[in-house]
Amino acid sequence: MKIRAKSIVKGVVRGEAIISRMAISFTGGVDPNTGIVREPGHDLEGKSIAGKILIFPIGKGSTTGSWQFYATYKRGNAPKGIINLRAEGVVAVSAVITGTPMVHQPEKDPFDYIKDGDMVTINGDEGFIEIE
């Protein structure tokens, strides 16, 4: 199925979904050396976001997150694509400087349709998400 969403960074990418219902901070929240979420009590704690299509509601925390995201990306541990319910500045610019396809404001709640491990395509050129 297809869900329309607004494009933030262009590009088309397909990958395995990892989904969180909690906001993410890339400073402190994710280890750049592994891509593993390390925030205590986070619903993705101990799981890797590397190479995945990362779906989460919104960014949070320090505005230094774009540096940590950049280091994570340079070490090959960043997500392939990002879907946010609503983009905020830190995650949006992280996607921009790394060329990571990103969409937000999906027309339907992705939590109702996507679960961990589903194959998902982000189409940032045309603005939609496709779930296999």
Binding site: T27, I58, S66, G89, H104
Partner: protein, 419 residues
């Protein structure tokens, strides 16, 4: 977005690869948020230090300099890893000093003022009510919006550096009056605020940030007489757990003199309400501290960096006391406040008690790049923000409590606050 002729030229690369990259970032951010145009800014503050930038970040900045970029707007920089004057005392490893030299050089080449302070608004980078600014460092950005009434989004460093170089920022979010209306009401009447200290306000705000997420909270019943230290406690803690850029303190925030003014066209009666309870505050305390080991290696203050008033309080608390020989006490501040401490005699008093005033760093990240190798593992802080970042970025075990509890800990060598 509709761009001016000069902005179009920057984007096309006519003015060099640095300006091109910066304008690409700003346009992409602007397009993300549906911004109609760019607007001029007059103040910029950059946040990232080595612990978050890492080598990849320095390389990113060096590439920008190679592209011929320089800031066109007054720009200051947040704290770094060590005290530039007294670094010999702290056994800072050579590789970190090399990294710091690269950072100093690249920032200077960009024209950024090496303030290395997060109270830049007390040190010359002070916008006015209604000014459009670009401040990274989520705590001070919230301070600018909520206390000064200047307008900054919760921008990352890449955005603010691009803004400093081009002189403009996309007009969206908190730059627009229509997006500055209160969205969620916060009431404190179930709490005994008169008995609250600086740490209690932080624990309270920690809870609020989680509930508010990215919405604009309106504190409707906080006394306008609440001291600025407690307002800072709320702002610097709320922005750890929430993506909050603006908080309306009714009667205090310049554009929120009344609840109606704070909420504008939003219907106050239908807004969600958070009614805070003591249990919320107690639960936050349990979440903020991460340590179990009672023995404390380092008590560290300064997230945000200590003001001269806060250091004066520490001097009073230390009167006639000695810091435990196996525990260090660091008071982090800016270079200019350190100078003032020497003038006031605070420097000597704190040293005589066995503590140190350390300039150019904050208590959140920088020093933990070398302290663990010197045996520092468990720290005590009077900042929820410092607890979160030092634990999650650099793996410190943290105790969080009031300034008084932390000083008692420094003297005893073991944790003396809430467990």
């Amino acid at each position: 977005m509709e761009l001016q002729k000069r902005e179009e030229e920057m984007l096309s690369g006519k003015h060099g690869s640095g300006l091109k990259k910066c304008m690409e970032i700003l346009v992409a951010v602007g397009e993300s948020y549906g911004a109609a145009r760019m607007i001029p800014i007059n103040s910029v503050h950059m946040a990232g230090n080595y612990s978050v930038m890492e080598t990849e970040g320095i390389e990113w900045l060096e590439e920008l300099v190679q592209g011929g970029s320089k800031v066109t707007v007054f720009t200051t920089k947040n704290p770094e890893m060590y005290d530039f004057e007294d670094w010999m005392e702290f056994n800072v490893p050579e590789d970190l000093r090399d990294k710091q030299n690269r950072i100093n050089n690249v920032l200077k080449a960009l024209g950024i003022t090496l303030l290395y302070s997060c109270h830049h608004y007390l040190a010359g980078n002070l916008p006015r009510f209604g000014d459009h600014i670009a401040w990274a460092s989520s705590g001070s950005g919230a301070f600018a919006n909520s206390v000064i009434g200047a307008r900054s989004n919760r921008d990352g460093d890449h955005t603010v550096i691009s803004a400093a170089i081009t002189g403009v920022i996309p007009e969206y979010g908190l730059h627009l009056s229509s997006n500055r209306k209160g969205q969620i009401i916060v009431t404190t009447d179930n709490l005994n605020l008169s008995g609250f200290n600086h740490a209690d306000f932080q624990a309270m705000a920690w809870h609020i940030g989680k509930k508010v997420r990215d919405r604009i909270p309106v504190f409707v019943d906080l006394s306008p007489d609440t001291v600025i230290q407690n307002i800072k406690a709320i702002l610097y803690s709320l922005t750890v757990t929430g993506a909050v850029g603006l908080v309306h303190f009714v009667g205090m925030t310049p554009e929120a003199q009344t609840v109606e003014a704070a909420c504008g066209t939003n219907d106050i009666a239908s807004l969600e309400r958070i009614s805070l309870t003591q249990e919320d505050v107690d639960q936050a305390y349990r979440e903020i501290s991460t340590a179990t080991d009672q023995k404390v290696d380092l008590v560290i203050f300064g997230c945000p960096q200590c003001t001269i008033q806060e250091i004066g309080e520490v001097v009073d608390l230390l009167e006639g006391k000695k810091v435990h020989p196996e525990t260090q006490l660091w008071i982090c501040t800016s270079g200019w406040v350190k100078t003032l401490c020497k003038r006031m005699g605070y420097w000597e008093k704190i040293r005589a008690a066995g503590g140190r005033i350390v300039a150019d760093i904050g208590a959140a990240c920088g020093p933990y790049l070398y302290l663990p190798k010197q045996g520092v593992r468990v720290i005590a802080v009077n900042s929820a923000r410092a607890s979160y970042y030092s634990h999650n970025v650099t793996g410190m075990e943290t105790w969080f409590g009031s300034t008084k509890e932390c000083i008692e800990t420094a003297i005893a060598g073991t944790w003396r606050g809430r467990k």
